[in-house]
């Protein structure tokens, strides 16, 4: 089925549907809050003053626009023209700042002085704690206890920024469990708290609202690519866990049918590759589950992609064929991580290295093409983990 670009990546309407996916599958207690949030976002997004306040913060505080970098040495090696959208250079080191500044401003506008967030790798948690500090909001971050060990430095960063980090001890102690705990907190505190969800998932309006807040990535990249190359890229690619950086980038190119959109999932957490439709955390999408419908743990080297589901709009983009989704292994990711460091002097987040791992593997098909890759985050947080893995390999 060929996608109609006019219908792709538009407003999902009051029911929050992306084709067959999305929706608002939440307990009754959260229904009024979701409705209030949708109304507040629609009003704010149409309010020039709100848009200006956000744009100013993105510019002055976060450092936008992020650069589009012509990675010439690596391009030469690959035989294509690789352009890197440098979201890793944003304040807090990833694309996550776009969403949190928007939602934190919205929380303040709604009169909510406490924000709840979940985090996997810690990037969204750090970004949330940052935005909360900036706007004087109370911030509680839920993080799986396993992730708290994997990313202990980010736990300290969040605390330094004044946030309270609470461990999620149930289940696998990773991102999905942190989301469960955040939702339980929200059910109890919904009158005074805003759930600052970190990806394009959850109940309507989150998948749409978070996409709109990350649209700046794609809008900038489209203009920058035209300025740099005189045209549009052939391929646009990004890593996908929940899928926020990919959605943000894709949204700038979805209406250009000639531009191929490729999301890259970890092989151990490939909701599109190995999942089937399911309903969890507020929306219907692809989901890793067992034969009985129990959610299965994702297994990835990257805590930020360790999620068994995917944003509902990605499920729709996949179902309509507008985007395709590839899977890469942990070993390919480690290789890509090192290649980028050696050829371009950039240490990328392991999440972002997934997208590059796919480009490296598909280099034959990329020959002569312009490939625009979202370098969604920087890799400082992952260096210790990679040192550990490489040390082990070398010693073996």
């Amino acid at each position: 089925m060929t996608a109609d670009p006019q219908l792709i990546m538009g407003d999902p309407g009051g029911t929050g549907r992306f084709g067959d996916f999305g929706g608002r599958f939440v307990p009754e207690t959260l229904i009024p809050a979701c409705a209030e949030l949708e109304a507040a976002f629609r009003a704010a997004w149409a309010d020039a003053e709100f848009r200006k306040e956000l744009a100013d913060l993105l510019h002055d505080y976060a450092g936008r626009p992020s650069r589009l970098y012509d990675a010439k040495r690596l391009s030469e090696e690959l035989g294509c023209r690789l352009l890197l959208k440098r979201e890793d250079l944003n304040h807090t080191g990833s694309h996550k700042i776009n969403n949190v500044l928007g939602q934190a401003l919205l929380a303040r506008r709604m009169g909510k002085h406490r924000v709840i967030a979940e985090t996997g790798a810690g990037q969204h948690g750090v970004a949330s704690a940052t935005a909360a500090a900036l706007l004087g909001l109370e911030c509680v971050v839920y993080m799986g206890e396993v992730d708290m060990v994997r990313q202990s430095l980010n736990v300290f960063r969040m605390r330094l920024l004044g946030a309270e980090v609470r461990p999620a001890t149930s289940g696998s102690g990773t991102l999905k469990d942190a989301i469960n705990e955040a939702m339980r907190d929200w059910v109890a505190t919904v009158e005074t708290s805003h759930y600052l969800l970190g990806s394009v998932m959850g109940p309507h309006p989150y998948p749409w609202m978070v996409r709109e807040l990350h649209r700046v990535i794609g809008d900038e990249a489209r203009e920058q690519c035209r300025a740099l190359t005189g045209g549009d890229p052939d391929v646009v690619t990004a890593c996908v866990g929940g899928g926020s950086n990919a959605i943000g980038l894709f949204s700038g190119f979805a209406d250009l049918p000639a531009v191929e959109l490729v999301g890259v999932e970890p092989a151990g957490g490939a909701a599109v590759g190995h999942g089937v439709p399911g309903i969890v955390h507020g929306s219907k999408s692809f989901l890793l589950q067992d034969e009985h419908g129990q959610v299965v743990e994702a297994e990835s080297i990257s805590a930020g992609l360790d999620y068994p589901g995917i944003g509902p709009e990605h499920a729709h983009l996949s179902a309509t064929g507008r985007a395709r989704y590839e899977q890469v292994t942990d070993a390919e990711v480690i290789e890509a991580f090192q290649v980028l460091a050696r050829t371009e002097g950039i240490i990328a987040a392991l999440e972002s290295a997934h997208a590059l791992a796919w480009v490296l593997r598909a280099r034959d098909q990329m020959a002569g093409k312009v490939v625009l890759l979202n370098l969604s985050g920087r890799g400082d947080k992952d260096v210790a983990q990679v040192a550990d893995i490489l040390g082990r390999t070398a010693g073996a």
Binding site: T15, G23, R24, F25, V26, P27, E28, T29, I31, P32, A33, S170, G171, K176, N180, M183, R184, V187, A188, T189, V190, E191, V276, P277, G278, I279, V280, H281, G282, K284, L287, Q289, H292, G293, Q294, V295
Partner: protein, 262 residues
């Protein structure tokens, strides 16, 4: 066609006698003898029994039901086996399944409906299937004769509450508080307010749940409401080793607490 389904007809008839309704809960698959818990509840004076089908990500549940779910799942509990086991549990009162929407969706709406009906299930509670999304399931449930119980929250606005009561079947489940399931030592202020709002909105049975942990709280919660669901307090006992007899005895105490209204 009767005006109400078998579950609601049964609960209304019990209410008619001036009796407060008691709906105890058990996590399906929690201990091999869990079907005996169902029988023990019935013998101790339950008016209907809620059977939980454990889910990996129970966002409306607090620590006790989370733990009960994890233990049951680790022991291999699943929807098909639980429904199958219910066929043998001779309760004599209506059985209501409580689970999360993904398990029903994954099983297939029609397949779930036919397996549930074959197991003698009369009602279904899905806390993450609000009115907005109800139509994905309601026609199938209705056709199969399963009464889908909707949950009302203290935050549900008046106009929505009326629609919700209208669309609910079997009874209306009033959520006592803002928060998840779990034992509490006192009744939330929001409970009384919601129970009163529900009672002036609907003549369907109004049954309150979340945090009803003792006979006294059960009695307090039914000053206006028609009945209570008790779950975490029972499952805490179960996790601490209680068998069907001890759980039945606690249900009898809850029954006595409710009967003090008479």
């Amino acid at each position: 066609m009767p005006e109400h389904g078998p579950l609601e007809t049964h609960l209304r008839a019990r209410r008619e006698t001036g009796h407060k309704l008691l709906v105890p809960y058990v996590t399906g698959g929690l201990g091999k003898d869990w079907p005996d818990v169902v029988s023990a509840y019935a013998a101790a004076g339950a008016d209907a029994i809620e059977i939980g089908i454990p889910f990996s990500d129970p966002v409306m549940d607090g620590p006790t039901i989370q733990e009960a779910s994890e233990v049951a799942l680790a022991a291999g509990a699943n929807l098909t086996d639980i429904l199958h086991a219910l066929k043998g549990a001779d309760a004599g009162v209506p059985l209501v399944v409580m689970t999360y929407v993904n398990l029903v969706f994954h099983a297939g709406w029609e397949r779930f409906a036919s397996e549930a009906v074959a197991a003698g299930v009369r009602g279904l509670i899905l806390p993450d299937l609000p009115m907005e999304e109800l139509d994905v399931w309601a026609p199938v449930g209705e056709a199969a004769g399963i009464e889908t119980v909707l949950l009302a929250s203290p935050l549900t606005p008046d106009d929505r509450l009326a629609t919700l009561c209208d669309r609910s079947r079997g009874f209306v489940y009033g959520v006592n508080l803002l928060g998840v399931t779990g034992e509490r030592t006192s009744l939330a202020d929001t409970s009384t307010v919601l129970a009163r709002r529900l009672k002036v909105t609907t003549d369907r049975p109004v049954i309150m749940g979340f945090g009803i942990s003792s006979p006294d709280l059960a009695r307090d919660a039914t000053a206006d409401a028609d009945g209570v669901v008790v779950a975490s307090a029972l499952m805490r006992m179960r996790l601490d080793g209680a068998g069907p007899e001890e759980l039945g005895a606690f249900v009898a105490e809850l029954r006595a607490g409710l009967d003090r209204h008479r």
